[in-house]
């Protein structure tokens, strides 16, 4: 039954504790080392054991931009999951399961699906009782079915376990090879995947790319409190700390997290924090403090399903207005939202440069889908520079006296050259209270209205300088289209896929993806939207936050909205259905 396909979708389903994430990562790397593009998404819950967990890897010869829909191969780790997922397997696909443990009910697996029943007990008996070895058996078999060379799988396993976990490596190599050999007896399906063992793309999650971006940017201090879906930034930075020289501090709460980072930034190092909406709420007051004291700091907020504790392990894009409105008062700040894994990397480098050049807090909005999905990268942009902004040239000959140095000097750009403790000739006091150019507080005893006004204008002038530094939004695709799809953040790939699929059917669509939320390219966005025939926003939230922001900034009313807030990411199919409906 030949299936000439240029891509393959593999889903592994089981419960928390089954080692699904590790299996998925191994398979993703195997695909990548075979020259395929990879995209993987892990659907899980807030439990350590049990629950319904599935991870889907999609690999293809050309760039894949979502985890896809129809499953070609299912690895079912228990009977319950087999029942839940069997029907998602496409015609001509296959299901792999442990025949000692999983007994498919008659008729559950359709006749057009190949069954691969693996005698896991026989295969693993010699190698200990670790139940997770059943995943490795299945992986070995799957690699054989897909006609990938076994040496690719053994190579990934060797690199994963390394020389430190020798026994585990040996067991995994042996059972994967046994699974591979057992599969030789299987009827194969023909996936026309042109493999190329010489191309190896790095495979990483959005969070890993954000963390790697911090390394690139010369970040020296990262503080966080554990919170899904930002925790893996903390984990990766902590694990690599001695290699990167980044000091990683888990603090008692998110209030401490951001105040610590502001302290470290005030003392002269590049500082970053990471959290999700709940932790971001606790940080709010300190974000204003960074704005008022003109302390550069980068804040990652990876959104999850809200409100309150909401859906801790599910995706959503409902914290845009939280980021825009964080903290009391008006103050300069930047809010930007990367859309792909490689964009995560570049966005952190950019965020640090903007933060330091303009001495403002920069909020980087991710979401669970972007933060946690794995993607192969065509190449990370390493052509960047570190721009630390203007430093004061201290008069080192003078005796240090406070208020001699004008830390908040009035300048045309609004940016005052900064300094930090330990430097001679620039002693000053940063203050949460309103202050004058020499950092004297003007809020107590006597409120100097004129100074307050001038200082306010100085700070806010920075916003006018920031906007021209940000790349203006542009339409992707043909200029004259029947419909323009508009999105932000992680929906980028799904929108691209929907546009391209429908394009092949003859529809003319284009795509506007907005990255910079504050300051906002109001003029450019308005011009683009006014040139569009019809408009549709695609967002993972209830109230259409991007549509509302666009209306607020430009006065333009987006005509149609596709909103999803069930916790799962969009599938290109859902976007396609909506587009057909709108275009009718």
């Amino acid at each position: 039954m030949p299936l000439p396909k240029s891509e393959v979708v593999v889903r592994t389903a089981g419960a928390a504790g089954d080692g699904i994430a590790a299996t998925g990562e191994t398979f993703a790397k195997v695909c990548s080392r075979s020259g395929l593009h990879v995209f993987a998404y892990n659907s899980y819950q807030s439990v350590i054991r049990g629950g319904f967990v599935w991870l889907q890897v999609r690999a293809g010869r050309t760039k894949v931009q979502s985890h896809g829909a129809g499953t070609d191969f299912l690895i079912a780790l228990n009977s319950r999951e087999l029942e839940r997922h069997a029907n998602d397997v496409v015609k001509g696909g296959g299901i792999l399961y442990n025949k000692d443990k999983v007994k498919p009910k008659p008729g559950l697996i359709r006749d057009d699906i190949t069954q691969y029943a693996l005698p896991v007990l026989d295969i693993t008996a010699k190698h200990g009782k670790n139940p997770i070895l059943q995943n490795t058996v299945a992986l070995g078999a799957l690699v054989k079915i897909l006609k990938i060379d076994f040496s690719v799988l053994s190579g990934v396993l060797s690199d994963t376990f390394g020389s430190r976990k020798k026994a585990a490596l040996e067991a995994n190599l042996a059972v994967s090879q046994a699974g591979y050999e057992y599969a030789e007896t299987f009827e194969t399906v023909d996936f026309a995947l042109d493999l190329d063992y010489n191309t190896r793309r790095p495979v990483m999650t959005g969070n890993q790319a954000l963390a790697l971006g911090a390394v690139a940017a010369g970040c020296k201090f990262y503080a966080a409190y554990p919170m899904t879906p930002a925790s893996s930034i903390l984990h990766w930075l902590a694990a690599t700390s001695t290699r990167t020289g980044i000091l990683v501090k888990q603090a008692e709460d998110e209030i401490a997290v951001l105040n610590m980072a502001i302290g470290a930034a005030f003392a002269g190092v590049r500082s970053m924090v990471g959290t999700s909406g709940g932790g971001f709420s606790l940080m709010s007051e300190a974000i204003g403090l960074a704005g008022q004291t003109e302390t550069p700091v980068v804040i990652i907020s990876s959104q999850r399903g809200g409100p309150s504790t909401g859906l801790p392990t599910k995706t959503e894009q409902a914290d845009l207005f939280q980021a825009l409105g964080a903290s009391q008062g008006d103050y300069p700040k930047i809010v930007l939202a990367p859309s792909t894994v490689d964009d995560c990397f570049s966005s952190i480098v950019e965020a640090f440069n903007l933060a330091e050049k303009f001495q403002v807090p920069v909020i980087v909005l991710s979401d669970l889908y972007l933060s946690e999905h794995m993607e192969s990268l065509d190449g990370i942009d390493l052509d960047f520079s570190i721009e630390r902004g203007e430093f004061a040239k201290p008069d080192v000959g003078s005796i240090d006296s406070k208020n001699g140095f004008k830390r908040y000097a009035f300048t045309e750009s609004g940016v005052s050259p900064r300094s930090f403790p330990g430097r001679a000739g620039t002693v000053f006091q940063a203050s949460s209270d309103e202050h004058d150019d020499a950092a004297n507080i003007i809020s107590d005893v006597f409120t100097d209205e004129e100074m307050r006004t001038r200082m306010f204008q100085k700070r806010m002038r920075k916003m006018e300088r920031i906007l021209p530094e940000l790349a203006p939004p542009r339409l992707e695709g043909k200029n004259a289209a029947d419909l323009t799809l508009i999105g932000w953040g992680s929906t980028y790939g799904m929108i691209r896929e929907a546009v391209s699929t429908l394009g092949e059917e003859g529809m003319t669509l284009n795509h506007l993806h907005i990255k910079y939320m504050l300051p906002f390219h109001a003029k450019q966005v308005k011009e683009i939207l006014e040139s569009c025939r019809n408009t549709l926003t695609v967002e993972s939230n209830y109230t259409g936050q991007l549509s509302r922001l666009i209306r607020m900034e430009t006065g333009f009313d987006i005509k149609h909205q596709l909103l999803k807030y069930d916790g799962e990411p969009f599938y290109p199919g859902q976007i396609i259905t909506k587009v057909r409906e709108v275009n009718n």
């Binding site: 020296k220 610590m260 190092v269 240090d400 330990g422 949460s432 507080i441």
Partner: protein
Amino acid sequence: MEIALYKVEAKATWCPGCGDFAVLRALQIALASLELNPKDVVIVSGIGCSSNLPGFLNSYGFHGLHGRAVPVASGIKLANHDLNVIIAGGDGDGYGIGLGHFIHAMRRNLDITYVVMNNQVYGLTTGQAAPTSEKGMLTKSTPQGVLEGPVNPIALALVSGATFVARGFSGDADHLAKLTEDGIKHKGFSLIDIMSPCVTYNRQNTYQWFRERVYRLEEDNHDVLNMDQALKRSREWEDRIPLGIFYKDTKPTYESGEQVLKDMPLVHQPIDRTVELVKELIQDFT
């Protein structure tokens, strides 16, 4: 060094007679005596009458949010552990809204000195109950008297792992200056809780009230290395109030255990070779 070096033109804005003047003076004397250059000293504060102190002293300063001086100071120390970091603030700031940070900072044991001007009332907001106000005290927010018992900062510090725990009194200036100097010199987290009377809103715990009760631990056969004795003394209040060092310990500081700080402070570490580092780390992902 001259005390004048640590003075600024700005006049302290506290009420005449406020205990905080003595604390400011004690800090200036201690810094001069330790010959610390103002450029290497950072005073961090939150919000409250006493938190205005950094503005009245010549050194780097960070006057942050209410209750959040401790984490800001921790971040500064982690970024540059060559700096002398001192936190100055009030009891509401440190033992009320900022209590969580206070406890975690002590178990963390960074080399920071925390000077708390404890007046047992909220002054800047015009006289509400503080977490240190005595039970039954009449304040604007408790016209029928405070119903909660007060926080015992000394006992809390002892059980939370602070490695230098002391109490001072604004009415005993020389003793306070010496305590402050000892606290700054101590390697580790030092708490100096200073009874610093509010002459405007606390008519109960006045200079006179304290003078009738205070005594010096060092003159009363107290062993500063003995935790049990320190805990016992920390519970004395009604009739006799101990001043001086309750407890001292020589545990390693947080910064001495942090691998990343082994060679030099974070702020001096170069960041010009990050592309090579990223290229190396990317190998882990392929």
